[in-house]
Symmetry: C2
Subunit: 192 residues, 2 copies
């Protein structure tokens, strides 16, 4: 890591913060949470231990900050997926696919998921995600592509729960099938 020669306290704080979370992410991916220590984090981030302790009292506080950054990044990814697609149907499919892929990519870690998911930022992110998907479903419904009689909010909950199955799925092909099945549930009933 380059020397921190940023000029203001806020920039310095942010640089230490980012370097610490990057170092944490690398250690987590390579060795798992159980083996992360504050000393290793400081060394990997290229900062002194005293500086690290100034911003984070312990590994758990780094974990929480890193998780908050992950959640924010994932929401941005979903917004980018939405904005890169053309038309309501393609947007909905792009967002649901991206969500399923994120679930799929983050399975099998040793993170204390229950503890992390009690956090306020997770509740807020869930609400934002729910609104994002609800709005896309409402836009699709305007062109008759969504089954009538079910509120968009209920359909959004259905989608997000169904796609959380991607967290226990072995292959990307299976994730694509899951997205197709989930989308099929949204469509209007056709006479058989």
């Amino acid at each position: 890591m380059p020397r921190l020669w940023t000029e203001t306290i806020e920039e310095h704080r942010r640089a230490v913060h980012d370097a610490t979370l990057d170092a944490f992410a690398a250690q987590l991916a390579e060795h798992g949470l159980a083996s992360v220590t504050m000393s290793q984090l400081a060394a990997a981030a290229g900062i002194g231990r005293a500086t690290l302790y100034k911003y984070f009292p312990d590994v758990e506080s780094v974990l929480v900050a890193w998780h908050e950054r992950q959640i924010t990044r994932h929401l941005h990814l979903l917004e980018q997926a939405r904005d890169a697609a053309d038309g309501p149907g393609a947007r909905l499919e792009a967002v649901l696919s991206a969500f399923a892929q994120i679930q799929h990519a983050h399975q099998g870690s040793d993170l204390p998921v229950a503890m992390l998911h009690r956090g306020r930022h997770v509740t807020e992110a869930r609400q934002q995600l729910h609104v994002l998907v609800s709005d896309l479903i409402t836009a699709c419904a305007a062109s008759g592509d969504i089954r009538p009689g079910v509120p968009a909010g209920e359909l959004a909950s259905y989608c997000l729960h169904a796609l959380s199955a991607a967290g226990g799925i072995p292959s990307r092909a299976a994730v694509r099938r899951l997205v197709a099945v989930t989308l099929a549930g949204l469509r209007p009933e056709t006479p058989r």
Copy 2:
């Protein structure tokens, strides 16, 4: 509770066990987990505290035993729902409806869900449930009522995850809509 005049030690053990779990269920429903004490449990079960402590060292061990009994009962409910319905399609719908209703009925408690769900009996029950639903989907597929190209096990995971949305749903009507949407995802694609 009637006096325990059962004749064998095993019967006595089972009677104390059942009475304790019934008393626990009543206290849980009325006051929440935080207020359950061993003294109250013994009094409500009509047994001495010494007898209670002979079988359960603390409230947490009662909670785990009660949860294990709940899981077993829920699986039996689903098997009964299956066996009461006629034909593969009706059986699948009956089981998925019953599962969604169970999810819906058990929301909003103060139970330590993450701790309970780490238990071995939960893992086993999940596997049994997954097999039960997979088998029903396979039976439906034989008559062409299930989309081709997706393994039954993947479709079962999709169903069970989608229906877990019933845990956050306010009304029984919304639960019925969720079941209909989830079932629609299973059907073969029809030309639009």
